[in-house]
């Protein structure tokens, strides 16, 4: 149990989802490596846990592993366990997996076409899940599908239910997928950049829906995002990932106001808020703080801490040894040899 205890929200409650020491390897001709390098966390009922990081940090691979949807090959789970309400997900057969998905664990993606069937009408694909998992009659299924579409801001759900995915715009498809996942009120919802492709007013609606799933149904939501504004408004706890590792885990207020890891601190410094700042013509805006460089590619991850080449606080030890995720406060853990302190 490496690090799980220190990232728990409240020991005593049973988590919906436990991921322990998960390792995902990607094989590639000459350039493979660990996309997920020993990740542990628990997701509790009634909370939104945000998995935050830049592209290539392993957050989507972690989510796909939990759903058993990793593209294999090239990706392969090489170590670790995943449990959903006690069920060992990695040991499940195909039939049991299908029962698990949808009702107990739902997933929404950034790209809706990955989860919509192009040859079925919207109404048909929404009802299928409801019939299968909730065993409702025809009238109840249609009413529930219609209500779910209405909840995601679709003004004419009846018409949309008769259409096919290709007849809808990208934004509408995204809403349909979210409606389909939420209509089943899953215990665990994995949302991988669910609002990245959406307009900001629609994003606000979707985030309210996720918060509603948490507050009214007590679901646990694993929210994968790169947007710290979304995290601040929606998440209860945050796990920051970098190059396959969770480098910091904390309650949202702690992570955003008193980050201990230099990477978390850098992400916050790069984040822009909507502020009414005067920009008289003839002046240029001040330079933003940046994190120099980029995330190292999979095949070129250095020994020791993978962030050290971009880190202004790096010391010799960072090149030798990856720091373990260690507690620095109440529910606050950081993997750094030279963390910031309050």
């Amino acid at each position: 149990m490496t690090g799980t205890a220190s990232t728990d929200a409240a020991p005593g409650r049973a988590p919906f989802l436990t991921v322990d020491d998960l390792e995902v390897r990607i094989e590639a001709g000459g350039g493979g490596g660990l996309a997920v390098a020993g990740v542990s966390f628990a997701l509790y009922p009634g909370e939104i846990l945000a998995l935050v990081g830049e592209s290539g940090c392993g957050k989507s691979m972690t989510a796909l592993a939990v759903m058993r949807l990793l593209p294999s090959p090239p990706a392969r789970i090489t170590r670790g366990t995943i449990r959903i309400e006690g069920t060992d997900v990695l040991g499940l057969g195909r039939r049991d997996l299908e029962d698990l998905r949808g009702r107990r664990i739902g997933m929404i993606f950034q790209e809706p076409m990955t989860s919509l069937n192009p040859v079925l009408s919207i109404g048909r694909q929404m009802s299928e899940g409801l019939r299968r998992h909730l065993r409702l009659g025809r009238a109840a299924v249609l009413a529930r599908a219609e209500a779910a579409l209405h909840d995601v801001g679709i003004v004419d759900p009846r018409r949309v239910m008769q259409q096919f995915p290709h007849q809808l715009s990208g934004g509408m498809r995204q809403r349909v997928m979210i409606a389909a996942a939420l209509s089943l009120e899953p215990g665990v919802l994995i949302a991988d950049e669910p609002t990245t492709a959406l307009d900001v007013t629609v994003q606000a609606q979707v985030l309210d829906l996720l918060a509603g799933l948490r507050d009214q149904h007590g679901s646990g939501v694993l929210l994968i995002t790169h947007d710290l504004g979304v995290v601040a408004e929606t998440a209860d706890r945050v796990a920051v990932m970098y190059a396959g590792h969770i480098v910091e885990a904390a309650p949202v207020a702690v992570a955003l106001q008193a980050p201990a890891h230099p990477y978390t601190q850098g992400l916050i410094a790069c984040h822009l808020e909507v502020t009414p700042t005067a920009r008289p013509v003839g002046t240029v805006p001040p330079l933003l703080e940046t994190i120099p460089g980029v995330v190292p590619p999979l095949h070129a991850r250095p020994d020791g801490c993978p962030f050290r080449d971009r880190c202004r606080r790096a010391i010799d030890r960072c090149a030798q040894e990856m720091p373990p995720l260690a507690s620095v406060g109440s529910n606050h853990a950081v993997a750094c040899w030279k963390p910031f302190h309050d």
Binding site: V200, Q203, G229, E273, R279, T290
Partner: protein, 292 residues
């Protein structure tokens, strides 16, 4: 302001024929862009902000209205003179991969406009391109490489070097950082600001991310369904938006220090644009559209 603006649009419209009738992508937009000024355009998908950018850069023509560049009405000019004037306006796109030619070295792509322009020897072009690489934070040795050898952020640096090469007066940047990670996004915004500091060029900066637009812009236009519903200096629009749509848009932006609770979803209710409206003036530089 008495000086001739770099670009002035007068009641520009771009209508497309669509299956269900005419699509009014841009439906009567007037604006001016001054020298050294950054004009930010915010709006959601379908607001017409990208079409507006394409019209200004010459990738699309208005179906009505006038585009005036440095005092010259483009529609009234001979094609040759128009081309020369067009060189002063360059574009940077969202996706730096699809906007670069995968089979041409990046050095050649950056120098291409200089070659077309004429008047420079190959050696002079190579020297200028090397200088541009240096300016955008790339090594001149990378000129001989191909786009796939670069990361997304580096490709955007190449696209910016290509846009800067002919020394334009205006760069239209359409979502230039929205495909990039947040740490890289800050690097590219700093680069754009640095270029403006050194060469005093103007930007039309189009993006859905309002915080990004507010950071770089002197003036902000809010577009909705093909029309500008509000414009003003950045701090006026950000701090004291008057149009209900601007207010709804700003209220929806996620921010620190606010929590979202599940419950009734407040939907932004915005009336369809009417033909009859007038501008309600808040200050000499800030106005919003009201229906009458």
């Amino acid at each position: 302001m008495t000086e001739t603006p770099l670009v002035a649009l007068h009641d520009v419209q771009r209508h497309f024929p669509g299956p269900g009738g005419v699509v009014r992508a841009v439906n009567g937009v007037s604006l001016t862009i001054g020298r050294g000024q950054t004009v930010g355009v915010v709006g959601e998908s379908g607001s017409g902000k990208s079409t507006l950018g394409r019209i200004i850069v010459g990738l699309d023509d208005p179906t009505a209205g006038r585009v005036v560049m440095a005092g010259h009405d483009l529609a009234a000019m001979p094609a040759r003179a128009r081309r020369t004037l067009r060189r002063d306006v360059q574009m940077v796109f969202q996706d730096p991969y699809s906007s670069l030619n995968p089979r041409m070295t990046v050095g050649r792509q950056v120098g291409e406009s200089l070659l077309v322009q004429g008047g420079l020897t190959r050696a002079q072009i190579a020297e200028r391109v090397a200088g541009l690489f240096d300016q955008v934070g790339l090594r001149p040795a990378q000129m001989a490489s191909y786009p796939h050898e670069f990361s997304g952020g580096q490709r955007q640096r190449i696209a910016i070097a290509r846009a800067v090469a002919p020394r334009p007066h205006l760069i239209v940047a359409d979502e230039p950082v929205s495909a990039l990670d947040v740490s890289v996004q800050a690097q590219i915004l700093n680069l754009l600001v640095d270029i403006q500091r050194k060469s005093a060029l103007s930007y039309l900066f189009i993006a859905h991310d309002i915080a990004v637009v507010a950071h770089v812009s002197h003036v902000i236009l809010v577009m909705h369904r093909g029309v500008v519903v509000e414009y003003g200096q950045t701090h006026e629009v950000m701090g004291d938006a008057q149009h209900p749509y601007s207010q709804a848009l700003l209220a929806a932006v996620p921010r620190f220090g606010r929590r979202r609770r599940g419950g009734a979803v407040p939907e932004p209710r915005v009336a369809a644009p009417r033909e009859r409206f007038e501008w309600c003036v808040r200050s000499p530089t800030h106005a919003y559209r009201v229906e009458i």
